[in-house]
């Protein structure tokens, strides 16, 4: 049952992400967007590195655990050559820090609280991501 992906997996996974974000917000007093949690770890002057590291180690550990437990969670189908992945990483890192958030900080937390800037950011990055896939699939592939 758990080995075949269904829309229930999507919904339950989303609920887990929401609960985890809620718990992290209550404990840290910060919006736990992954790009912000990770990006601030790279700044020497960040005063609250302990909870950020612990949260991200937990994230990697939790992922490793469910990769081991469930085939559907471990499904990994790479789509792009490694050079494209490296460029994508640069753009994702730069864009999320300049724009103040990623899919979790803006897309889940900000949108969940009805913050106008997060709603705007989410609409923009969804639109440019869809446009990028459209162009990549027609021009490159």
């Amino acid at each position: 049952m758990l080995h075949h992906y269904t829309l229930w997996h999507a919904l339950v996974g989303g609920i887990l992400i929401g609960l985890a974000s809620l718990l992290a917000t209550a404990l840290s007093g910060k919006i736990p967007g992954i790009s912000g949690v990770f990006g601030r770890l790279l700044v020497p002057a960040t005063p609250d590195k302990a909870w950020r590291s612990v949260f991200l180690f937990g994230l990697i550990g939790g992922a490793a655990l469910s990769f081991a437990l469930w085939q559907s969670a471990a499904l990994f189908r790479p789509m792009r050559p490694l050079l494209i992945m490296a460029i994508a990483g640069l753009l994702v890192g730069f864009g999320t820090r300049l724009g103040g958030g990623c899919t979790s900080g803006h897309g889940v937390c900000g949108v969940g609280m009805g913050a106008k800037d997060s709603i705007a950011a989410t609409l923009i990055f969804m639109a440019t991501a869809m446009l990028t896939v459209f162009i990549y699939n027609r021009v490159v592939l």
Partner: protein, 138 residues
């Protein structure tokens, strides 16, 4: 921060990582399938968003009203040029690779070569934004 709180934050991170993997966000083909609205569109990630946004939104209403939880950055930032340009660039990167920051980190847990490459270049991109644009908004 007290040790007990840090343990709970580790568990919150674990829950987050499980949510990312169970939901299919760590599979680039599923993410790119969701973004491919002009092709063979896969709507699954809409359910991930609905679950996450719904739970977080409801939960925050309750926490703020009844538990008095306050955020250090409660006021929304303005919709300015940095936000628009940043979100645009992030979207291009997300569409190119099929990774956003959470799933990229989560895939370190499987030592996927894509993640081992993507996470360091993502860190470089973050440092560049922070160094040259002082990008430090919440």
């Amino acid at each position: 921060m007290r040790a007990g709180k840090l343990v709970l934050l580790f568990l919150a991170g674990g829950l987050f990582g499980m949510g990312l993997t169970v939901s299919g966000m760590t599979d680039p083909a599923r993410v790119i399938g969701f973004l491919d609205i002009f092709g063979a569109w896969d709507p699954a990630l809409l359910f991930v968003m609905a679950g996450a946004v719904g739970i977080y939104g409801m939960g925050m209403l309750i926490l703020r009203r009844f538990a008095g939880v306050k955020l250090s950055s409660a006021a929304a930032s303005p919709i300015d040029r940095q936000l628009v340009i940043g979100a645009t660039i992030f979207g291009v990167g997300w569409g190119l690779g099929g990774f956003c920051p959470g799933p990229a980190l989560a895939n370190l847990g499987a030592l996927q070569i894509e993640a081992l490459l993507f996470v360091p270049t993502m860190a470089i991109g973050m440092l560049l934004a922070q160094r040259f644009f002082g990008a430090d908004r919440e």
